[in-house]
């Protein structure tokens, strides 16, 4: 039960700090990768300094989808798999917001898989952070769409037999205009990826490998140097004309992005793909309104409807 506010809120215009952005204490298990994602997100918001009331944090269902309760912004917690279409309504309903959606691999790639494809192809303006732990954690260890072959769960006691999804390939193929990959053990990298995603004008996605210490310990060690893994960053083209730049990755090159996505586990991290030219649905819908208003010579709502009814006489 909530009580009265003990401390006065910061005055309007005061810098947005982690303190102001902190809400409920996270309910995640100790050691969960999601803590680092949350800490990184606070840093992202501190850097961006958006007006507090214009930030929206939304989620579906899953461990990671508890996120909005831990961030003190406008936000909410929708039903399993459908956070993206809900967020589409927020984005298209008010273009003047900074919208962040959080979810897991089950929410995004399984029950919400179709929504991911269509939100991406429509290029609806928002940032989607997928905290991928490759297991269903909230329901205590069932196979997820990114569980690797052979992974033993309560629903695959002899090991997973279904081919897992390749998130990067799926996202690029769906038409997402910003696709990046990061790892919950790399805070600075997460911050950079989320920052760039937030600044992207369109549907931007960051997949973060975030370990579930309870049900899939060590899942992403292959990319953690201190556990003997390899942390390989994507080197992006600097367009400096040097010979070494030839080999660097052009993030606007979709085919090159697919090739990166096809690399064997644990693959590479960074920005796979960015399309800065495709218009957002937000802009295209706004164009429709402008054109309709031109045709009707900015008639008032009342005059418009009266004219329509007059034609029905």
């Amino acid at each position: 039960m909530s009580s009265a506010v003990a401390t006065p809120p910061p005055p309007p215009g005061a810098p947005l700090t982690k303190k102001a952005l902190t809400a409920d204490h996270p309910t995640w298990c100790p050691g969960c990768g999601d803590f680092a994602v949350l800490a990184s997100f606070y840093r992202v918001l501190e850097k961006l300094q958006y007006p507090h009331e214009k930030i929206v944090t939304f989620a579906g269902i899953g461990c990671s989808s508890r996120f909005p309760y831990f961030v003190n912004t406008h936000g909410g917690h929708f039903i399993h798999g459908r956070a993206l279409p809900f967020a589409a309504g927020i984005s298209l309903g008010n273009d003047d917001l900074h919208l962040f959606v959080f979810g897991g691999d089950g929410d995004g790639f399984s029950i919400g898989g179709n929504h991911l494809v269509h939100t991406a192809r429509k290029n609806i303006k928002m940032t989607y952070v997928i905290m991928d732990n490759s297991v269903y954690g909230l329901t205590k260890k069932q196979t997820s769409p990114t569980s690797p072959l052979g992974f033993k769960t309560k629903t695959d006691p002899t090991g997973a037999i279904d081919q897992p999804i390749n998130p990067m390939r799926t996202l690029i193929n769906s038409g997402a205009t910003f696709v990046a990959r990061s790892h919950a053990t790399q805070v600075n990298h997460m911050v950079e990826m989320m920052l760039r995603a937030a600044k992207h004008d369109g549907f931007s996605v960051v997949e973060i490998l975030s370990e579930c210490v309870e049900f899939f310990e060590g899942a992403f060690d292959a990319a953690v140097p201190r556990k003997g893994g390899a942390w390989s960053l994507i080197e992006e083209k600097k367009h400096d004309g040097t010979p070494e730049d030839e080999k660097r990755h052009d993030t606007s090159d979709e085919i090159a992005a697919f090739k990166l996505a096809m690399q064997p586990w644990p693959g590479v991290f960074g920005v796979f793909y960015e399309n800065k030219t495709r218009k957002t649905k937000n802009a295209l819908e706004a164009d429709l309104v402008v054109k309709a208003k031109e045709r009707t010579k900015n008639a008032s709502d009342l005059a418009l409807l009266q004219a329509t009814f007059a034609r029905m006489r």
């Binding site: 039960m1 909530s2 506010v5 409920d24 406008h74 279409p85 309504g89 179709n114 006489r313």
Partner: protein
């Protein structure tokens, strides 16, 4: 556009041999194939009636096949109030043999069979009707000429009908020009050629049929406003626009699609947006997202689509998010009979989600009410921060009616989202009052930003497992709907206040119910008719009304179920524990005929004479001699 045959004066210009016989109303059924444009004949007649003093109601069936196949349009026009589309036809226009075969049984004794003698051979020994043979196909081809083949048959028939019923030719010509005016000039010319050829068809070849509608008693026309003509789905769309709804999302499904098509076209003109989503679930989710931004949104579908939306609607109740949900009911379950009418989604609308989900269900009674109920739905959704269902049906969706043009200057609602700062005491889910969400963009002066959620929550929207809070919040969600019930007006009650039978209807059965009441009372039965627009919550005080009648006969278009009662009857019995509540149900995919309601009431009222009288069709008003 000059037509070769324009009559000098409107209406019966070529001085027919006999005087016109006065009639109150007539039912014309046009039967052909779906590509023949018979719907547009109905549309012209409807709009003509709207521009005249006649009232109109139409009835339409379309085949669920995509193109081709049998199709009918039934129009009833007459003077003053027309309550139903008519049980049987006074005139059947049969374009093909199959049209004749399938529909001759719907013609009243003494009615007019007007058939295309190029295609139809009526039974030679059937002399129940006035048979009028017109070579519709060849006459149209001759009139229009060129390459248009028999295109225009429908307009030729419109000319014939205009002649027989002495319709206002000048107004019809204007309507034809308006309708085809956007196309190239040949189209208008051909249409007028076909129309004039039909109109000029020699009257002696029409067996001297000549009728005129009774003059209207102008004193009964209260508003003096012009009439407008539209179907029920259009009325819902424009009702929502009137109510300030500017946002929506949907997925195509018959017979809902035309609402989303209208809104997709219209809303951008009003600065709004309608999104076609990837599926039904995305549509309800996107609509809820719109509502969350402070702009009441609409989603809708037909039966199967509503099933898909139910989880999100459970969220909407829990999160107390306003939303308008239209269900254009069709025959179910599953794909069922997608182009037929049924009222079998009532329980789904009320109880279809999981958990305890008190929410509002309204049902329009006719096309005009589709418009006004949309406005009311928006008001309730905003005032009580709740999802509101509009349960319309296939019958209303495509039926065209003429009604008084709404007084827009009084009705228009300007609905701008309230993104003003919220005071330090702001809570999204206060226990002591109805939720008023703060949309994103609104500064929260306490610095504590709200979450909207499907988890049980405290007053600030944070999750709780407290049994006490779950009980309190469940009561909060229930009590606001009870508060709405207390504010509802008494339902429309016609006829006797007490007596033998109370006929109860909902949705599109209003008109046939009202018409049935007259026939029931004429037979000496003390009867009333109660029509429910507010289905859930029910208005208060119905138990007292029910107690004054020996039988309460609830008529609805769904199955009697395992226990012998339709869905509304079941609910009313549960609510009022009144054993006199009985059911009349049917599932033939058509709206109630007046005679079916009369028979149902007579059966329950144990009035065999009245019940028997419904078995024989009355003579047509067009009968000769």
């Amino acid at each position: 556009m000059v037509s070769p045959n324009t009559p000098e004066t409107p209406g019966g210009a070529s001085s027919p041999s006999g005087a016109a016989r006065s009639i109150h109303d007539v039912v014309i059924r046009l039967a052909g194939n779906s590509q023949d444009g018979i719907q547009s004949v109905g549309g012209f007649l409807a709009r003509l009636a709207g521009r005249s003093d006649q009232d109109i109601m139409t009835y339409m069936t379309i085949p669920s096949t995509i193109s081709g196949g049998p199709s009918i349009f039934q129009v009833r026009m007459g003077t003053g109030d027309i309550l139903s589309a008519g049980d049987r036809a006074d005139m059947l226009v049969a374009f093909y043999q199959h049209s004749y075969d399938a529909h001759i049984g719907s013609l009243r004794p003494g009615g007019v069979l007007l058939y295309d003698s190029d295609h139809v051979k009526p039974a030679p020994d059937d002399n129940r009707f006035t048979n009028v043979a017109v070579p519709i196909t060849t006459a149209t081809v001759e009139a229009v000429g060129g390459t248009s083949k028999d295109k225009g048959k429908n307009i030729f028939v419109l000319g014939l009908i205009a002649r027989v019923f002495d319709l206002d030719v000048a107004k019809l010509a204007a309507l034809i020009k308006e309708r085809f005016g956007g196309k190239n000039e040949d189209v208008v010319r051909n249409a007028m050629l076909a129309f004039d050829a039909g109109y000029a068809w020699p009257q002696n070849n029409l067996r001297d049929l000549f009728f005129r509608f009774e003059a209207i008693d102008r004193a009964t026309q209260s508003t003096g406003r012009p009439q407008i003509t539209m179907d029920g789905n259009t009325a819902i769309a424009f009702g929502l626009i009137t109510a300030g709804v500017r946002h929506g999302a949907g997925y195509p499904i018959t017979p809902w699609s035309s609402i989303m098509e209208t809104l997709r076209t219209e809303l951008p003109k009003y600065g709004g947006i309608f999104v076609q989503c990837e599926d039904e679930i995305a549509a309800v989710s996107t609509a809820l997202g719109f509502s969350y931004t402070g702009q009441l949104a609409i989603t809708g579908s037909a039966g199967p689509g509503l099933s898909l939306k139910m989880e999100a609607l459970g969220w909407a109740v829990m999160a107390e998010m306003p939303l308008i949900v239209v269900n254009v009911q069709r025959g179910g379950p599953s794909t069922g009979m997608p182009t037929n009418v049924e009222q079998s989604d009532l329980m789904q609308a009320i109880y279809g989600s999981h958990g305890d989900t008190p929410r509002v269900v309204l049902a329009p009674k006719n096309v005009e009410d589709c418009y006004y109920i949309a406005i009311e739905a928006a008001r309730i959704a905003r005032e009580y921060s709740t999802p509101v269902f509009i349960l319309t049906d296939m019958g209303l969706s495509s039926r065209i009616e003429a009604f008084d043009e709404p007084d827009l200057s009084k009705l228009m609602v300007e609905a701008k989202p309230d993104r003003s700062p919220r005071g330090t005491d702001f809570k999204p889910y206060p226990l002591d009052r109805i939720t008023r969400h703060a949309p994103p963009g609104a500064r929260i002066e306490s610095g504590k930003y709200p979450t909207v959620t499907g988890l049980e929550h405290d007053e600030l929207g944070h999750p709780t497992g407290s049994p006490k809070l779950h009980m309190q919040m469940t009561a909060k969600r229930r009590d606001k709907i009870k508060a709405l019930a207390a504010s509802l007006p008494a339902p429309e009650h016609a006829g006797d206040e007490a007596g033998d039978v109370l006929l109860v209807t909902w949705g599109s059965s209003w008109g046939p119910g009202r018409e049935a009441l007259g026939r029931i009372r004429n037979a000496g039965v003390k009867a009333g008719h109660l029509h429910l627009r507010h289905i859930h919550p029910l208005p208060n005080g119905l138990e007292a009304t029910f107690a004054r009648f020996k039988k309460i006969v609830v008529a609805e278009l769904n199955d009697e179920g395992l226990y012998g009662f339709g869905q509304l009857a079941m609910m009313l019995r549960a609510r009022y524990a009144n054993p006199n509540i009985v059911s009349v149900t049917k599932t033939d995919g058509l709206t109630f005929k007046v005679s079916e309601l009369v028979a149902g009431v007579a059966h329950h009222a144990q009035h065999p004479a009245l019940e028997a009288s419904t078995g024989t069709a009355a003579k047509s008003v067009l009968a000769q001699g």
